[in-house]
């Protein structure tokens, strides 16, 4: 809910890895998120709780299954605060140029 919680939650490689996995496939359960990870189920659950507390992960219960969704709104709030107002078109152009030059487009 506050920026400190968002930055603290993001300041950890494992938690960023979990967000990356949700970015690839949204709405996963704890069991699905654990697959192929070096972390224990307990560690993943703890990291998810911190991400949820920071509102970076939103959850939805479907029956007894808890599904996790990447919630990009707090990161967007932070981005808009410093770069949104004036810089967005230029940054988008730079990002596009970078992708073109690096051959990802």
């Amino acid at each position: 809910m506050d920026d400190d919680a968002v930055f603290r939650a993001l300041a950890d490689r494992s938690r960023r890895q979990l967000l990356d996995r949700l970015h690839r496939a949204n709405g996963q359960t704890l069991g699905e998120l654990c697959q192929g990870l070096e972390m224990t189920r307990q560690a993943v659950a703890k990291h998810l709780a911190i991400l949820e507390e920071a509102n970076l992960v939103a959850v939805e219960w479907r029956g007894r299954e808890k599904h996790h969704f990447l919630n990009p709104v707090p990161i967007n709030d932070i981005a808009e605060r410093w770069i949104g107002k004036f810089e967005r078109p230029r940054l988008a152009a730079l990002a596009k140029l970078k992708r073109t030059l690096e051959g990802n487009e």
Binding site: M1, P74, R88
Partner: protein, 150 residues
Amino acid sequence: MTDKPGSSYIYVTYIRTTPEKLWAALTDPKMMKDYWFGTIQECDWKKGSPWKMLFADGRIADAGEVLEVDPPRRLVLKWRNEWKPELKAEGPARCVYEIEPVDGAVKLTVTHTIERTGSKFIEAVSGGWPRILSNLKSLLETGEVLMRSK
């Protein structure tokens, strides 16, 4: 994980306001125009009523109807893209707004779902929602939107 039927996105934002003020912001055409980057929504917010979203130049962007309305707690819209044939072909999506008071703030959850797996429509709206919700939060907390145009 990828074989789950349907596509959905959930967005959550906490806004320092009241459920009533947030409800007004979600249904007042003037306020909506401010944080929706100039698009206009037309609806009388009664169950079964048609709902339309128009670009600033009057073209229809999206259309649907009000499926549920329970002020200031819950609003459900049937929502279909009307201007991109490939998105329109996916049929209607469902958009649920839920408002809950939490510790002097209000939690707004927006859930956008469609039956089709790997939906391009859900992908398209997923990029827009965070910016709209950041704008809405700023408008209610400071009286100013962050950005007026895209």
